[in-house]
C-alpha cells in the first residue's frame, strides 16, 4: 500500500506565498513558473502555488488535524438549537395533529409543502455541478462539487421529512410505498404524490451513491493520513480497500462517469415531478405546462445561490480561498443569472398564458388575486427579488465581489421560498367557488418546523465539514496536475493528460 511520505506533509495556508523549499518535487521546481500571487483569485480556479501534496494536505488536515475552533462550536450550537426546535415541533405535531399548522380548507398545503419544494430545489445544484458539469468537462467544478453534493443530500433529507410530516396520519405514511400487504392494495399510481415518492427517493439514492463513490479515493487518502489506529480502521472500512491501483482508477472512472450519466436526467426529472404535484392539479395558478421547466430552472437557481451562501463562509473559515476561488463564485453567479432569468421569464409567461387562455379562473387568480389581492405584497416582492434584484448579477463588479454575490444569493434563497409561498398556498386561497375562499396564515409551528429543518441541514453540514474532505482531493490533484504541467508540457496530449481532455 503506497504511503504518503510523512516528510511531504506541509502546512500550507491560503494567503501565504509558499516558499520554494526542497520539499517540492524536482519536477515541480523544474516546471512551475513563479507567478504573481493573486489574493482574490479572480481568474484562477486554483492557487498557482498549489502542488499535488499541498492540496491534499490542506484539505485533509481540516478534518484530521485542525483543532475544533470556537467559531465551529458556536455554529454547531446554533444549529443544534434549531434542531432541538425541530424535535419539539415534530413531537408536538405527532401528538396533536397537523392542525397545529395554519393549513385549512381550502389551503390544504402550506409552509410544509412549500418548504419541501424549496429544499428539493436547494438540492439541485449539487448533482448538477457534479454530474452535468463533469460530463461537460467543466473542470472548475472540482473544488465545489463535494460540498455541493453533500448539500444536496442534506437538503433532500430536509425535504424528505416534509411529506412524512404533513400528512394527517403519520403512522400510515408507508402506505405510499408499493409493498405486498394483506389489504391487497398498492399505491394509486395516477397520483403525482406517488411519482414524487419515487422521484425523490431515486434522486436521493443516486446522489448518495454518486457522492460516496466520489469519496472513496479521498477516504483512502484520509485513511492513510490518519494517525490513530482506530481512525485508520474506521475510515478504512469506508474506503473499501482502495489501493490506488490502476485497475481501481480505471473502474472508478468508468463508474463515476456512468453515475454522472444516470444523475443527469435525474436533475431534470426530480423537480419536474415535484412540479407535477401542482401542474397535475386543476387549481388555478397550479395548472400550467410551464411548471416543469421553470421549476427545474428555479431549483438550479436556488441551488447555486445556496452553494454561494455555503461556499463563501467555508472558504473563509477554513482558509481555502485558493481552492474555492473567486472564479468559482463568479461562475455560480453566472449560473444564477441564467437560471434566474429563466425563472423570471416563467413568471412573465405565467401571466401571459393566464391572460391568453381566457380562462376566467386563471385570469382572476393572476391579475385580481396575485397582483392586487390580499397577498399582492408577496407577488410584487417576488418580482422585485427574482426579476429586478437578480439583474445586479449582470455587473461584473457585483459578480466578482464577495459581499455583492453573497447578498444576491441570500435574496435569491429568500425569493425562492417566497415564490413557493405565492405559488402553493396563496393560489389555493381563492380558487373556483368564491364562497370557499379563505385566507392562509402560517402558525408558529409552521415556521418552527421550517427553522428546525434549517437546523438539521446546518447540523449535518457542520458535521460534514469537520469529518470529511470538503473538497475532492483526487480531483484537485488532477487539477493541479493539469494547471501546472499539462499546459506547459502540451495540452491535449493524451500521453500527458491520461485521456482526459482539458
Amino acid at each position: 500500500m503506497p504511503k504518503q511520505p510523512a516528510e511531504l506533509e506541509t502546512e500550507v495556508t491560503g494567503g501565504e506565498k509558499p516558499s520554494g523549499d526542497s520539499r517540492r518535487s524536482l519536477r515541480d521546481m523544474l516546471t512551475s513558473v513563479p507567478q504573481q500571487y493573486d489574493p482574490e483569485m479572480q481568474n484562477q480556479i486554483i492557487g498557482s502555488h498549489h502542488t499535488l501534496e499541498s492540496v491534499t494536505a490542506q484539505i485533509s488536515d481540516i478534518a484530521l488535524k485542525r483543532p475544533i475552533s470556537l467559531g465551529w462550536l458556536i455554529s454547531m450550537f446554533v444549529s443544534l438549537s434549531l434542531l432541538a426546535l425541530m424535535f419539539v415541533s415534530v413531537m408536538y405535531l405527532i401528538l396533536e395533529g397537523v392542525g397545529i399548522w395554519g393549513v385549512n380548507v381550502p389551503v390544504g398545503w402550506g409552509v410544509g409543502i412549500l418548504s419541501f419544494v424549496w429544499w428539493i430545489g436547494i438540492g439541485h445544484a449539487g448533482t448538477l455541478i457534479s454530474a452535468i458539469l463533469l460530463l461537460l468537462h467543466q473542470n472548475w467544478r472540482t473544488s465545489i462539487n463535494r460540498f455541493a453534493e453533500a448539500m444536496t443530500l442534506m437538503a433532500v433529507c430536509c425535504a424528505g421529512l416534509y411529506p412524512l410530516l404533513h400528512v394527517g396520519r403519520h403512522q400510515y405514511v408507508y402506505w405510499m410505498l408499493p409493498f405486498p400487504n394483506t389489504m391487497g392494495l398498492w399505491p394509486q399510481f395516477r397520483s403525482p404524490l406517488i411519482w414524487d415518492v419515487f422521484a425523490v427517493s431515486t434522486y436521493f439514492t443516486v446522489s448518495l451513491v454518486f457522492w460516496y463513490i466520489g469519496l472513496v479515493p479521498d477516504l483512502a487518502t484520509m485513511r492513510d493520513r490518519a494517525k490513530a489506529p482506530w481512525l485508520k480502521k474506521f475510515i478504512g472500512f469506508f474506503a473499501l480497500g482502495w489501493r490506488y491501483s490502476t485497475r481501481h482508477w480505471q473502474r472508478y472512472n468508468a463508474v463515476y462517469l456512468i453515475l454522472a450519466g444516470l444523475s443527469t436526467p435525474l436533475v431534470l426529472s426530480v423537480h419536474t415531478t415535484v412540479s407535477w404535484d401542482f401542474a397535475a392539479g386543476i387549481v388555478p395558478g397550479w395548472h400550467g405546462t410551464i411548471f416543469p421547466q421553470y421549476f427545474v430552472a428555479g431549483a438550479v437557481y436556488a441551488g447555486f445561490a445556496m452553494v454561494i451562501n455555503l461556499g463563501v463562509p467555508l472558504r473563509s473559515f477554513f482558509r481555502m480561498k485558493d481552492l474555492i476561488t473567486m472564479k468559482h463564485l463568479e461562475n455560480c453567479g453566472k449560473f444564477m443569472c441564467i437560471t434566474g432569468n429563466i425563472v423570471f421569464y416563467g413568471y412573465i409567461m405565467e401571466v401571459f398564458t393566464a391572460w391568453y387562455s381566457g380562462v376566467v379562473f386563471e385570469r382572476y387568480l393572476t391579475f385580481d388575486n396575485r397582483m392586487f389581492g390580499p397577498y399582492a405584497w408577496s407577488f410584487w416582492l417576488l418580482i422585485f427579488c427574482n426579476g429586478v434584484f437578480i439583474q445586479l448579477i449582470w455587473f461584473k463588479k457585483i459578480r466578482t465581489s464577495i459581499w455583492g454575490l453573497y447578498i444576491v444569493a441570500l435574496v435569491v434563497n429568500f425569493a425562492m421560498w417566497l415564490e413557493r409561498l405565492v405559488l402553493i398556498p396563496f393560489s389555493l386561497t381563492r380558487d373556483y367557488l368564491p364562497s370557499s375562499w379563505h385566507m392562509y396564515y402560517p402558525s408558529f409551528w409552521d415556521y418552527a418546523t421550517f427553522a428546525g429543518t434549517l437546523g438539521l441541514f446546518f447540523t449535518l453540514f457542520f458535521i460534514f465539514v469537520r469529518l470529511l474532505p470538503t473538497i475532492s482531493m483526487v480531483e484537485m490533484r488532477e487539477l493541479v496536475h493539469h494547471e501546472h504541467h499539462v499546459d506547459e508540457l502540451g495540452a491535449n496530449d493524451p500521453a500527458v493528460t491520461g485521456g482526459l481532455k482539458v
Binding site: G99, V167, W175, V197, G281, I282, D368, P434, S436
Partner: protein
C-alpha cells in the same frame, strides 16, 4: 351577580331543616352496585335478604335497614317483581347519593370554570354513574314503534317511533330513529300537519341537547346536590301551608302551554288552590299576534295561514319561512307554489318588507329593507291602497311600490295574502286582518280558529304582574316550569331581584342555568325524548309525546312536578298522561292509544274554526321616535338562548351573516359609513339603563339607521359550549319595547373583535355604499358576474315561460362579443319568435361532444343530452347489481327556486353522519366540518342586494379531480357513481381537498370527534364511522342509507324503487328542494328534474361531470317594479336574463 345564590334570610333555617336526610333507608354499601354491572358486590338471591354484615355493615354510622318499610314497598310494587339489591329496593336515589359519597364529584355549579381536560376526567366519573343508571330496570311502560312491533327488534336494525317536540309551546310531530334503544336521528312525521315529514335545524339539534353532558343531572338545593325526595317533602310542606290561604302565595310560571294533560293538571291545581295564579313568560310569546287579534275581533282568535293556492303574498316583517310554530308547513306550501317545471311555469310572488334581512326576504321576489317603526305606516298605506277604510294616510301612500303591490294583491282575490310579523305591534296585525278581509282571503288563505294555547295570556303583562306581586311580598312559593326568566325577562322588571323576596322558589329545567342558580330548588327536567307528555300543534292537532329512552339523569317532567303540588308525589308521567286520555276516550282505550302512539297524531283534534269579522277602526298612528333604532331578534339558531349550549347550532353559520359562535350588531353599510364604524369594530350600545358592547357586522340589506341585535347570547351560566359566547342583549330590552325602539346611543370603541364567519372574511367595503357601484372584481361578496363564474343562475319566470330552452344557449363571456348563434337567438327572442332551432340544439351540445372526443381514462361518458345521463346507455359503469338488476346510478338535483336557505340540511346531515363540531377558533381558521353547506351570494346594490342561497354537498363528479390525486386510493368511484371516501385508507395528504373545485371535502385537522363523552358516543349513528384525526371526509350521498335500501331490495328480490333511498338532507328539507335517486330510472324524480331545461351543473367547464346539479333559480318579479328593490331582473348573472342588454 347571577351566579351567586342569595336565599332570603327568613327562610334559610327552614330550608336547612328540610335538607336533613330522612333516616329510613340509607343502608349499607361501600360503593357496591348490585345491579349486575360486574362491580363485585354480591347479588342477593331472589327473595332472600343477605345479612347486613356481609355487605359492609361494619360502618357503624349507617342507619340500619327498615325491614318493615322494605316489605311494605315490595307489597306495593307493581309490574317488575324482581329486585337486585337492597339498595335498589330501599331507594334508588339515595343509593345514588351513597355512590356519590364514594365517588365524590365537583358540584355541577362549579363546572363553569372547569377546563376541558378536567371536564373529561369528570365525565369519567359520570360514566360510572351512567353505568349504574343504565343498569336500572326499564320502567314498565309501553311505547309503540311506528311501523314495527317491538318484538321485531333486531340488533342493528333501527326502529322509528312517532313522538312530538314542543317548541314555544306548540307541537311538531316527529319520527325518531332508535338504534338499540338510543335515539339517533330526528325527522318529521309525514302524517303530522305542521311537520309534513320535515323539520328545521333546531329540531334536528334537539337530539344533541338530549345527550348534552352539560344538562342538569340532579336535584339541587341552593346549588348543592340534593334529592328528589327532599324536594318532594319541602314542596309538600310548603304547599300544605298555602292551603289555608287558598293558595294566595302560590304561583306557577310556565312558558306557553298547549299540552292538554298539563292544562288539566293546572286546572286541577287552580281548583285546589283557588287563589293561586298561573303566570306565563316566554320570549317568543306572540303577544303582538294575540293583541292584534283582540284589537281586530274583540276576542282571542288564532290566525292560520295557508299558502296552498296563493298567488301573491306580502310579508310585513314576518319571517314566516323560519319563525313561528307553523314555519315548516308554510315553507312547504310556499315552495309548492313556486316549484317550476318546463310544463308548469306559474309561481307565486312574494313581497317582503323587513326590518332586518331574513331568509324570507331572500326568498322573495321583491324585498325592501324598512325600519321596524316604518312598517306600521307602510301597512297603513297598503291598507288604504287596497281600500280598507279607516287606515289613515301615511308617508308611504304615494309610494309606487305600495300602489303596485296593492294592485297585485287585489288582482288575485282570495289568492292573495298579507302576513304580519310577530315582532310588529298589534295595530299592524289588526290592519293585516282588515287587509286580508278586503282581499277576500278569509276562509281561503287565512283561517281563524279557537286558540290552541291553553291560557292565551299576554305574557308581558303576566310576568309584570308576577314581578309586582313578588315585590309586594304576596308570593311565597314560586314554581318556574321551564324557561329562564332570570336571563331573558325584560331588564326593567328586575326579575332576579324580585325572586329573592320569595321564600320558596323552584326551577324545573333542562339546564342548571341562570334561573336555577337564583332559585332555592332546581329539579332537572326530562328532555322530550325521555318523557311522556302531550302537545298540540298550531292547528290544534294533538300528539302524544312518547319517550325513546329512559331519562339519562334524574329528570322529572312537568306533569310529575305538578303532581307533587297536587299531592300525588309518586305518580309517573306515563300514568298521568294515560289517565288523562283514558278519561277523554270512551271505548277500546288500548287500541286507540296504540294507534295514537303509532301514528303520532290524534284524529279530529284540530282547533275549531271561528267566524269573526275584522273591525276597521284602528288606533291613531303613533309617531316614531327619532335617532337610531334598535331591533331585537331571537337568534336564528340558538333562539332566545335556550339552545345556546348546542355546538351544532352555535357552529351553524347564520344564513345571511355566516357568523358562527357569536352575535353581532347588524348595521347597514350606509349607517356604518355615517357612523364611521368598520366591520368587527366593537361598539357600545346605550339604551335607557342598559349598556352593552357588541362587534359590528355590516350587513347588506339592513335598513339604514336601524341596528339589529340577536337575543340568546352572553349566557353567564350555560354549559361548556354556550357559556360566555357573545353578548347579552337582553340587558337593553325592556317590557315597553320588547322588539324595537328608538333612542339608541351608539359609541365607538377602538377595539376590534374577530367574528368567525364561514364565508367572506373580506367584507363589504362600506365606503361604496352610497353609490350603486358595479360589481367590484376584488369584492368577493358580489356575485361573480365579472369573472363569468356561473355558480348561480337566475332567470325571471317570464323569460322561462316564453321559452324554457333559452337557458341552453351559453352566454358570451363578459368581454367577448356574442357569436352568431347567440346573436340569432337573441334577435329571434327579441322579436318574440321561437328561437329554438336545430342549429341551436347542436350548439348547445357542442361542448359535450367535444368533451367526449377528448382522450380519457374513462371513455366517452358524457351523453349528449342535458339530463347528464344517457338514457339508453350508461357506459361508464357496466356493473350489474344483485339478481341481474341494473346497477343504479345515484344523482341529486337541488332546486334553487325552492331552496330558502334555512340550513336545516346542514344539521340533518350533521346528525346523520356523526359530523363533529370544531369550535369558534377552528371555524375562524376555516376548518368547519359541514358536509353540506349553504353558500350565500349577493348580487346588486349593496344597500339592498338580491341574495341567493346555494346548498353545496359533494358533487360526486363522474371525473372527480379528487380521485386521481390520492396516493393511496382512499377516494375512489363506486359502480353506482358515488365518489367514495375510505376513511380507513386515508393518510391525510389533503391533495384531494386542494384539487376539489367545489371545496366540499373536510379534513380532521385535529381530533374533532367527541370520543371521550359517553353520552355523545351514544348519540352517534352506528352505521357511520366516526372519523379520527388526520382523515379526510365528505358527503357520500348517505351511502349507509343506500346500502340499507339495497339490502332490503335484495332480500325482497326486486330492483330498487324511486324513494327507497332518502338522503338526510333531502329528508329534512322543509321545501323538498332536493331530489335524489337513480338517474338511470326514467321514472325517477331525479331523472325528471335533470331533464328540466333549467338544470345546470356548477363548474362543468372543468369537465368534472357532477352528479349533483341544480335547477336554476327562477324568480317572479313584478314587471312594473323591475329594478326596484332586490328583484333579480336587472342583475343578470348568466348573461342570459337580459338578452337585449347583452347585445
Amino acid at each position: 351577580m347571577p351566579n351567586e345564590f342569595k336565599p332570603a334570610q327568613n327562610n334559610s333555617e327552614k330550608l336547612m331543616e328540610i335538607n336533613v336526610l330522612p333516616n329510613e333507608s340509607d343502608s349499607c354499601g361501600s360503593g357496591g352496585c348490585g345491579s349486575g354491572c360486574g362491580c363485585g358486590t354480591p347479588k342477593s338471591a331472589s327473595g332472600q335478604f343477605i345479612p347486613l354484615t356481609a355487605i359492609g355493615a361494619a360502618e357503624p354510622l349507617r342507619p340500619p335497614l327498615d325491614m318493615e318499610k322494605l316489605r311494605k314497598k315490595l307489597a306495593n310494587q307493581n309490574g317488575q317483581k324482581y329486585w337486585r339489591s337492597l339498595e335498589e329496593l330501599a331507594d334508588d336515589s339515595q343509593f345514588k347519593e351513597l355512590v356519590d359519597r364514594e365517588f365524590p364529584r365537583q358540584a355541577p355549579g362549579s363546572w363553569q370554570g372547569v377546563s376541558r381536560r378536567d371536564f373529561l376526567r369528570l365525565m369519567g366519573a359520570g360514566l360510572a354513574l351512567a353505568g349504574l343508571s343504565g343498569c336500572a330496570r326499564q320502567p314498565d311502560e309501553h311505547i309503540t314503534p311506528y311501523v314495527k312491533m317491538p318484538e321485531d327488534t333486531l340488533p342493528g336494525r333501527p326502529l322509528f317511533y312517532a313522538t312530538a317536540e314542543t317548541r314555544n309551546g306548540f307541537g311538531r310531530g316527529l319520527l325518531v330513529r332508535s338504534n338499540m334503544a338510543r335515539p339517533t336521528k330526528i325527522d318529521g312525521n309525514p302524517d303530522h300537519p305542521t311537520s309534513l315529514g320535515s323539520t328545521d335545524a333546531i329540531t334536528q339539534a334537539t337530539l344533541l341537547s338530549m345527550y348534552d353532558p352539560d344538562r342538569s343531572q340532579r336535584v339541587l338545593l341552593k346549588g348543592e346536590d340534593s334529592q328528589w325526595n327532599s324536594f318532594v317533602e319541602a314542596v309538600t310542606v310548603a304547599v300544605e301551608k298555602q292551603k289555608s290561604a287558598g293558595g294566595a302565595g302560590l304561583r306557577i310560571l310556565t312558558e306557553t302551554v298547549t299540552s292538554p294533560t298539563l292544562t288539566s293538571q293546572m286546572q286541577a291545581l287552580l281548583k285546589k288552590f283557588p287563589k293561586a295564579q298561573w303566570h306565563q313568560w316566554e320570549v317568543n310569546n306572540r303577544d303582538n299576534v294575540k293583541q292584534g287579534a283582540r284589537m281586530s275581533f274583540g276576542r282571542d282568535v288564532q290566525t292560520v295561514y295557508s299558502l296552498k293556492s296563493v298567488k301573491t303574498i306580502l310579508s310585513l316583517d314576518a319571517n314566516f319561512l323560519h319563525e313561528g310554530p307553523d314555519s315548516v308547513r308554510l315553507a312547504r306550501e310556499f315552495a309548492d307554489g313556486r316549484r317550476v317545471r318546463h310544463d308548469k311555469t306559474e309561481m307565486n310572488r312574494l313581497y317582503v318588507v323587513e326590518s332586518t334581512p331574513t331568509i324570507t326576504g331572500t326568498s322573495a321576489d321583491h324585498s325592501w329593507p324598512l325600519k321596524a317603526s316604518d312598517i306600521e305606516p307602510f301597512t297603513r298605506a297598503i291598507a288604504a291602497a287596497v281600500g280598507v277604510a279607516g287606515a289613515g294616510e301615511s308617508t308611504f301612500s304615494a309610494d309606487k311600490r305600495v300602489q303596485e303591490m296593492a294592485k297585485d294583491l287585489l288582482a288575485n282575490p282570495g289568492k292573495s295574502l298579507v302576513i304580519p310579523g310577530e315582532y310588529q305591534p298589534p295595530v299592524v296585525h289588526a290592519l293585516a286582518h282588515a287587509i286580508n278581509a278586503r282581499l277576500g282571503a278569509v276562509g281561503k288563505s287565512v283561517k281563524y280558529t279557537e286558540m290552541v294555547e291553553a291560557n292565551p295570556a299576554v305574557h308581558t303583562d303576566s310576568l309584570s304582574a308576577l314581578v309586582a306581586d313578588m315585590n309586594a311580598g304576596k308570593v311565597q312559593n314560586l314554581f318556574i316550569l321551564g324557561g329562564n326568566p332570570v336571563y331573558d325577562a325584560p331588564a326593567d322588571l328586575k326579575f332576579s331581584e324580585a325572586l329573592q323576596k320569595v321564600s320558596l322558589t323552584a326551577h324545573v329545567g333542562l339546564y342548571n342555568d341562570e334561573t336555577a342558580s337564583w332559585c332555592n330548588w332546581h329539579v332537572p327536567q326530562t328532555h322530550y325524548l325521555e318523557e311522556w307528555s302531550d302537545v298540540r300543534a298550531y292547528d290544534g292537532t294533538t300528539s302524544i309525546v312518547q319517550p325513546l329512552i329512559a331519562p339519562l339523569y334524574e329528570g322529572k317532567s312537568f306533569h310529575e312536578i305538578l303532581a307533587v303540588l297536587l299531592g300525588q308525589a309518586n305518580r309517573k308521567g306515563y300514568e298521568i298522561v294515560r289517565e288523562y286520555w283514558r278519561g277523554k276516550h270512551s271505548g277500546d282505550f288500548e287500541t286507540w292509544w296504540r294507534k295514537v302512539l303509532n301514528n303520532g297524531v290524534m284524529e279530529n283534534t284540530t282547533a275549531k274554526p271561528v267566524s269573526v269579522t275584522a273591525k276597521s277602526t284602528f288606533p291613531a298612528p303613533t309617531s316614531a321616535g327619532s335617532g337610531l333604532e334598535i331591533c331585537f331578534r331571537p337568534d336564528f339558531h340558538v333562539g332566545d338562548g335556550r339552545y345556546a349550549n348546542s355546538g351544532w347550532l352555535q357552529e351553524l353559520p347564520r344564513p345571511l351573516t355566516k357568523v358562527t359562535w357569536d352575535n353581532a350588531a347588524l348595521v347597514s353599510p350606509a349607517t356604518a359609513q355615517e357612523q364611521g364604524i368598520a366591520q368587527e369594530q366593537v361598539i357600545e350600545l346605550d339604551l335607557g339603563d342598559g349598556r352593552i358592547t357588541l362587534p359590528v357586522f355590516v350587513l347588506p340589506g339592513q335598513p339604514d339607521n336601524s341596528i339589529t341585535v340577536q337575543l340568546g347570547y352572553g349566557r353567564t351560566k350555560c354549559g361548556q359550549v354556550g357559556g360566555g359566547v357573545g353578548s347579552d342583549t337582553y340587558l337593553l330590552r325592556t317590557s315597553k319595547a320588547l322588539w324595537f325602539t328608538s333612542g339608541l346611543q351608539l359609541k365607538k370603541t377602538n377595539d376590534f373583535y374577530h367574528l368567525a364567519t364561514t364565508q367572506h372574511h373580506h367584507t363589504i367595503d362600506f365606503k361604496t355604499a352610497d353609490t350603486n357601484v358595479p360589481d367590484d372584481p376584488n369584492d368577493p361578496t358580489a356575485l361573480e358576474t365579472e369573472h363569468g363564474r356561473d355558480v348561480i343562475k337566475v332567470i325571471p319566470i317570464a323569460e322561462f315561460a316564453k321559452d324554457p330552452n333559452f337557458f341552453l344557449v351559453p352566454a358570451p363571456m363578459a368581454d367577448e362579443a356574442p357569436d352568431e348563434t347567440q346573436k340569432t337567438y337573441r334577435a329571434k327572442r327579441a322579436a318574440g319568435e321561437n328561437a329554438k332551432t336545430e342549429a341551436l340544439e347542436e350548439k348547445s351540445h357542442e361542448g359535450m361532444d367535444a368533451a367526449n372526443d377528448l382522450p380519457s381514462f374513462y371513455g366517452p361518458i358524457w351523453p349528449s343530452d342535458r339530463t347528464g345521463i344517457d338514457k339508453n346507455n350508461v357506459p361508464t359503469y357496466k356493473g350489474v347489481g344483485y339478481g341481474g338488476n341494473p346497477t343504479p346510478q345515484w344523482a341529486m338535483t337541488i332546486d334553487l327556486t325552492t331552496c330558502i336557505g334555512c340550513n336545516a340540511c346542514t344539521i340533518g346531515c350533521q346528525a346523520e353522519n356523526n359530523i363533529a363540531t370544531v369550535g369558534k377558533y377552528q371555524t375562524s381558521m376555516g376548518r368547519e366540518m359541514h358536509w353540506i353547506r349553504v353558500d350565500r351570494y349577493y348580487d346588486g346594490d349593496v344597500a339592498n342586494p338580491a341574495t341567493h342561497h346555494q346548498p353545496l354537498p359533494c358533487m360526486q363528479c363522474e371525473k372527480a379531480p379528487c380521485e386521481y390525486v390520492c396516493p393511496v386510493e382512499a377516494t375512489s368511484h363506486s359502480v353506482e357513481g358515488i365518489n367514495e371516501q375510505t376513511y380507513n385508507r386515508c393518510v391525510g395528504t389533503r391533495y384531494c381537498s386542494n384539487n376539489c373545485p367545489y371545496k366540499v371535502r373536510r379534513f380532521n385537522f385535529l381530533q374533532y370527534s367527541e370520543l371521550a363523552s359517553p353520552t355523545i358516543s351514544l348519540m352517534h349513528n352506528p352505521n357511520v364511522t366516526t372519523r379520527a384525526r388526520g382523515v379526510m371526509e365528505k358527503c357520500t350521498y348517505c351511502v349507509q342509507r343506500i346500502n340499507d335500501a339495497r339490502w332490503h331490495a335484495e332480500v325482497d328480490n326486486r330492483p330498487m324503487k324511486d324513494g327507497d333511498v332518502v338522503t338526510a338532507c333531502q329528508q329534512v328539507c322543509p321545501t323538498n328542494a332536493i331530489s335524489f335517486g337513480n338517474v338511470v330510472d326514467q321514472t325517477s324524480e331525479v331523472y325528471k328534474t335533470k331533464a328540466e331545461p333549467h338544470n345546470y351543473g356548477v363548474l362543468t367547464d372543468l369537465n368534472t361531470y357532477p352528479r349533483t346539479t341544480y335547477l336554476a333559480r327562477l324568480r317572479n318579479p313584478n314587471p312594473k317594479l323591475e329594478g326596484d328593490g332586490a328583484s333579480q331582473t336587472d342583475h343578470d348573472n348568466s348573461g342570459n336574463a337580459a338578452p337585449e342588454a347583452a347585445l
